[in-house]
Amino acid sequence: MGALVMKQKIFQIMSRIMDVPVEQLTKESSPDTVEKWDSIQHMSLVLALEEEFNIIFSDSEIVELLSIELIIEIVSLKLASQ
């Protein structure tokens, strides 16, 4: 999977799970800027990302995924190491 496709997918998943239009999301989007992004919706986000990319985050990674930029970074690392 190319980096661009992966990024698009992450934005799309974020948009669906948090119910915000893709245009309103940026790399800096985080629980502070996205209204629905609380600890509960974070669980759904993690489950959706794992399902889409067929990866498994460790417990310490889960609690670090706190902006779109960090998500892209960690997902890239996981995909690269597969």
């Binding site: 799309q12 998943i13 669906r16 799970i17 119910d19 600890s39 509960i40 669980m43 759904s44 993690v46 489950l47 959706a48 794992e50 399902e51 889409e52 985050f57 460790s58 417990d59 889960i62 609690v63």
Partner: protein, 593 residues
């Protein structure tokens, strides 16, 4: 089969679907774990059933406070389903995690404490609402505390969890409209790796993984679907590459795959599962493109047909399109098109039916994977009913008789002689302990011929029976084709010389035989006997009962302009003019009134 939708896709469907016109269902969740990620799955399965679900969760580990102390948000007047997640790990750290450090006395003390807790919570919920309660069982520990010895002794953790589950099952069974949801079945189907998520257990006390959550929500909806009368009633089947492997018209009776060994055994076992459903009250119909003669030859002459002609209520075996044939099957059986599940190996036919009849649940059987047919059918969960009654076990016979009656009707010259030819015998009885379960079930399930669509449980019916200001009567029909069992219910309430028809319903499979003519007159006679001077009939419109909108007008009732303003229509019957007489086309009317 359709690919399972991912969480992101489900969320997208939920975000984008216009739910404003859908009926609503309110679900409240009490829990001692974090369970919020199940909400999208619950809402998705509700949407699949045609409902917009509102799900509210109580506070984390506040079950006792909410149930016993009261909570108006969770137990609001719209709540129709209360889901309880009471995980042993939170409820009793001792029994779940420190088991070996406890002596027998301490263990028994913990068991008693947990049982008292369950009892208080259940009673607390019931005090606040009559809604359906779905209580999730305790999961069997997969690595019990005493290792292999645990299975050998009654003092082990496995047995203790079993004792708690038995207690729970019993107390729920003794509570009306409360059900035991067996999480061990969900765990077994998914497998432990897909069921639990230990990361989120530690991060946020959320024990279940994606697949586990989906499976639990699916299990919950096996209960909610019949609660809303949305369980499927009829399974319509293709023949070639569905009931047997190969094509009968080309391969012939000896050439098709069907038998006790491979490659015929997957079809044999699929048929066994179909017959099991038949004995649970599911109506079996054939919908295939074949020469009809060929198909019945297989039914009559193939030694390994488990499914027999007697199981088939009606058949459309011809070269018409399958959507038209499914419509005909619904007409033949007098059931809604939305209560049919259609199974076929042809993607073309499945897509055609999905396109033309979206109300029908069309399930694709991939014919190179016949080994999975049985599982696809048994795990679909669409036919589940909250109870299986004696009537259910015989329903197939009754529906078959119904389609024979239809044939006779086309031959009879006029209706009266047709009715007479049926040799109908009616039995009208006051509700008793034997009939109460069936009567309650009828109020839950009957949609079309139902004037008020009030849903009652057994306790409600019993109360109507005991009270001196109300009566419950049931109607049983027997004709030359067989015993249809209890097919009608009427509840009368009396208020100052007036009888109000609280409930009047008939099972749709007996409509069009003049039975209602006799039943309404019996109800009027009962009101007269109780000293009433008039009878009030009401009509509450639903999406399915338009056919009875003007029912009362046909029987000499006058429409009231100033009746009960909650009802869509109100009617009055003046008993001074007498109750009338039943039509004379019945062979016998045997009444307790």
């Amino acid at each position: 089969m359709k690919k399972q939708q991912s969480i992101a896709e489900i969320q997208e469907i939920l975000n984008r679907t216009d739910k404003s016109k859908l009926p609503e269902i309110h679900i409240s969740v009490l829990r001692n774990i974090m369970i919020e990620p199940i909400i999208p799955y619950l809402r998705y399965y509700a949407l699949d059933m045609g409902f917009n679900a509102h799900v509210v969760c109580g506070e984390y580990d506040n079950v006792y406070q909410e149930a016993v102390g009261g909570n108006e948000v969770l137990f609001n007047k719209n709540a129709e389903c209360i889901i309880v997640f009471m995980k042993l790990d939170t409820l009793s750290w001792g029994l779940s995690r420190n088991f070996n450090q406890y002596n027998q006395e301490q263990i028994q003390g913990e068991v008693a404490r947990v049982q008292d807790y369950i009892k208080s919570v259940l009673m607390g919920i019931r005090k606040q609402t009559d809604a359906m309660i779905l209580w999730h069982s305790f999961e069997t520990p997969t690595n019990p505390s005493l290792g292999i010895w645990d299975s050998q002794t009654e003092d082990g953790q496995l047995n203790i969890v079993g004792v708690l589950n038995s207690f729970l099952r019993k107390i729920l069974k003794d509570t009306s409209n409360a059900y035991f949801v067996d999480l061990n079945l969900c765990l077994a189907r998914v497998g432990i790796a897909g069921f639990y998520d230990s990361r989120y257990w530690h991060i946020g006390r959320a024990p279940y993984a994606r697949e586990g959550l989906r499976e639990i929500a699916l299990e919950d909806f096996k209960f909610i679907r019949p609660l809303k009368g949305k369980n499927k009633k009829c399974l319509a089947l293709d023949c070639d590459n569905t009931l047997w492997g190969g094509i009968i018209g080309e391969d012939g009776l000896e050439g098709i795959k069907l038998g006790k060994t491979h490659p015929g055994s997957p079809y044999y076992e699929f048929q066994q599962e179909i017959v099991n459903l038949y004995h649970r009250g599911v109506i079996i119909a054939m919908c295939s493109k074949n020469n009809e003669h060929d198909v019945w030859e297989v039914f009559r002459r193939h030694p390994y047909m488990v499914l027999k002609e007697e199981h088939i209520a009606t058949a459309q075996i011809n070269w018409n399109d399958k959507a038209a044939n499914l419509r005909q099957i619904a007409l033949d059986l007098n059931i809604g098109i939305d209560s049919i599940v259609f199974m076929d190996d042809s993607e073309f036919e499945i897509n055609l039916v999905r396109e033309m009849l979206p109300e029908v649940k069309a399930i694709h059987l991939p014919h190179n994977r016949a080994v999975e047919y049985r599982d696809i059918l048994s795990r679909c969960g669409l036919f589940d009913t909250l109870t299986v009654s004696e009537e259910d076990k015989n329903r197939g016979v009754m529906y078959k008789a119904e389609s024979v009656r239809k044939k006779l009707l086309t031959e009879a010259t006029d209706m009266i002689s047709y009715y007479k030819s049926l040799e109908m015998l009616l039995e009208i009885r006051f509700a008793n302990e034997f009939s109460i379960p069936r009567i309650a079930q009828q109020t839950q399930k009957t949609n079309q011929f139902n004037l008020t669509t009030r849903r009652y449980n057994e306790a409600d019916i019993r109360e109507f029976t005991i009270n001196s200001d109300s009566d419950v009567i049931s109607l049983k029909l027997i004709d030359r084709f067989g015993d249809s069992g209890i097919v009608g219910t009427c509840i009368l309430r009396y208020e100052d010389k007036k009888a109000i028809i609280d409930t009047l319903l008939l099972s749709c499979r007996v409509l069009g035989r003049g039975v209602e003519d006799a039943f309404i007159i019996q109800a009027l006679k009962l009101a007269k006997k109780r000293g009433c001077e008039s009878v009030i009939g009401e009509y509450y419109a639903t999406r399915k009962n338009a056919q009875v909108e003007s029912f009362y007008s046909k029987y000499g009732f006058q429409e009231l302009s100033d009746g009960n303003n909650k009802a869509d229509k109100s009617f009055i019957y003046d008993l001074m003019k007498g109750a009338g007489t039943e039509p004379d086309f019945f062979k016998q009317i045997d009444s307790e009134i």
